[in-house]
């Protein structure tokens, strides 16, 4: 256990650049406040886990970074969300361009009802890549990166819905990688998967974290402890607005939490 932590700390230490940050961010859905005054710096090329009880706003928080909350009528954001010194809620921000830089993997695997190839090529096609040869290159590279190539290379033309759940989720990751993002957001990516598929996704996340900044929302404490370098604990106040309770290196959050509420949560006393 101790060795493990030393390893994690070592990993986390090698890069300390901030890639994403929120400054005093509050999120409202109509009159309901979902998040309150959250300030958080997220490190580049590391895995940051967002943990906390159901309904505390973890997913809403994650969706701040690619402005997916825009799709919800009545959603409003106060404060700043910054990527590389740019506030992404500025008026002149191109949301399409932002979502190219910040990809997202969803809770339930959601490949399009198209072929495996077309799924991965979807993003590049939308962003103007037309050349068939070039697209095939992108598809192969992305599938290899997502550790799926060997399993699907003979059925690129088949429907993606015929793949298993774990394969579908890796396909969704490949689909995100094909757009060459800088940040990958993962919203409970393993909650619909069996333990073996879950471990494969976790391995994949570890290997991707050397090139990408990954933010993952997870319900699974062990998963957060296994994969993440940094962890943020969110919980809700009496009015059900989510607040940030504690943020720090994963090893510290799980072995030596500074806040009583964090300790209660990770030791399973509530949640």
């Amino acid at each position: 256990m101790n060795m493990n932590h030393a390893l994690l700390n070592n990993r986390a230490a090698h890069n300390n650049e901030t890639k994403l940050k929120t400054e005093q961010v509050s999120l409202f859905y109509g009159t309901f406040q979902a998040l309150r005054n959250i300030s958080l710096d997220i490190r580049e090329k590391a895995i940051t886990a967002i943990i906390g009880p159901s309904g505390c706003g973890k997913s809403s928080f994650l969706r701040l970074f690619n402005r997916m909350n825009d799709l919800i009528i009545g959603a409003r954001v106060d404060g700043r969300v910054v990527i590389d010194d740019t506030n992404i809620y500025d008026r002149d921000i191109d949301v399409v361009e932002l979502r190219k830089r910040v990809g997202m993997v969803f809770q339930k695997p959601n490949p399009f009802p198209m072929s495996v190839l077309e799924n991965v090529a979807f993003g590049p096609r939308r962003h103007g890549k037309k050349n068939r040869h070039e697209l095939e290159g992108i598809v192969e590279r992305s599938l290899r990166q997502a550790a799926l190539w060997d399993e699907v290379k003979d059925k690129l033309g088949q429907s993606a819905l015929a793949l298993s759940g774990g394969q579908q989720q890796r396909l969704c990751i490949a689909r995100v990688l094909a757009v060459e993002p800088e940040v990958i957001l993962m919203d409970e990516p393993c909650s619909a998967l069996d333990p073996i598929a879950t471990l494969r996704i976790e391995d994949l996340m570890r290997s991707l974290s050397s090139d990408y900044t990954i933010v993952i929302v997870t319900h699974n404490m062990q998963q957060a402890a296994r994969v993440s370098d940094m962890a943020a604990f969110l919980m809700m106040e009496k009015d059900r607005a989510g607040i940030l309770v504690e943020y720090g290196p994963t090893s510290q959050i799980f072995t030596n939490p500074q806040d009583k509420r964090t300790e209660d949560y990770i030791t399973g006393r509530f949640g």
């Binding site: 009528i73 361009e97 932002l98 979502r99 190219k100 959601n110 399009f112 979807f122 993003g123 939308r126």
Partner: protein, 306 residues
């Protein structure tokens, strides 16, 4: 205690099983009734219509251009009616499909909830307008317009009928397509947006393909309506007996031919039988269209069953 409750539940279960059976057979009967009616219609049409081919060979009947029901001997060639139906249906479809699917895409994907909730009932209301009223509108408003626009001798022509039919099949196409679009899982839209697709790209590359078979079924239902519509085309298509070679000519679609002829036909006579033969052809055409629509709809359901 346990034994008593088991006994009670046993007698209860028996009673349930009986009422269950009763309901089951009632539903089965209802289902069978639909099939019986359908077969009955087909049988009637066959019985009344097939003898027509005793006077006229099928070749002459389907490809003959002369319809002289009261001359001696009578000649029954329905090519002009068939061509008229084809013109009117094709043009009506060409107008109604882009308009209807576009409207459905707007309502399902773009319009705010308030607009959707006002527009959709209005579109559905359009389906309830009696066809005779649509005919009057065509007669009064549209035909002078078409006459002036194309510089015709009369505004009562295939094109006028086709435009009115398009208006009449629009509600079906809009309603069914919109339902199909809304049945496309929200996850697909989210995935598309998250990959940086614009709203237009998401509608065009994700939602429409996802709903394609439902939309195809909507189109088939609309076409079925256009083929079978009688009163409007009788009033505004012009009623000429020549084979139409342009949509701006007056023409007499199959339904109009039956409706205008049946009053004068002697029951059981050659003309009567010929009209029934036209009805038989019409029945088979709409039946085929509906069958295709059904198949396509079934495929749509299977595609999204996950």
């Amino acid at each position: 205690m346990a034994i008593a409750s088991a006994g009670l539940s046993k007698s209860l279960r028996r009673r349930w099983r009986f009422s269950e059976k009763l309901i089951e057979s009632f539903i089965l009967l209802n289902g069978l009734l639909a099939i019986i009616v359908l077969l009955g219609v087909l049988f009637l049409l066959l019985r009344e219509g097939l003898p027509a081919f005793a006077y006229t060979s099928p070749w002459q009947f389907f490809f003959g251009t002369r319809w002289y029901p009261v001359s001696e001997p009578p000649t029954f060639g329905i090519l002009s009616f068939f061509m008229a139906t084809l013109w009117v249906t094709l043009i009506a479809t060409a107008i109604a499909v882009p308009l209807g699917v576009g409207c459905a895409a707007y309502l399902a994907e773009v319009a705010p909830a308030s607009v959707r909730e006002t527009v959709k009932p209005i579109v559905e209301l359009l389906a309830g307008i009696p066809s005779i009223v649509m005919g009057l509108i065509g007669l009064l408003l549209l035909s002078p317009l078409v006459q002036g626009l194309f510089n015709l001798n009369t505004g009562l022509c295939g094109l006028t009928a086709a435009i009115m039919l398009a208006m009449m099949s629009l509600p079906i196409i809009v309603t069914v397509s919109e339902d199909a679009l809304r049945a496309v899982p929200k996850e697909f839209r989210e995935a598309s947006y998250a990959l940086g697709a614009t709203q237009w790209e998401t509608v065009w590359h994700v939602c429409l393909p996802g709903a394609l078979s439902g939309i195809a079924a909507a189109i088939m239902l609309g076409v079925g309506r256009a083929i079978g519509e009688t009163m409007t085309v009788l009033m505004v298509a012009g009623g000429a007996l020549a084979v139409p070679y342009a949509p701006t000519q007056p023409m007499m679609p199959m339904t109009a031919a039956i409706a205008s002829g049946i009053g004068n036909a002697v029951r059981g006579g050659p003309q009567y039988q010929a009209l029934f033969a036209i009805a038989l052809l019409l029945f088979l055409m709409t039946f085929a269209v509906n069958l295709v629509a059904d198949r396509v709809l079934e495929r749509q359901k299977r595609k999204f069953a996950r």
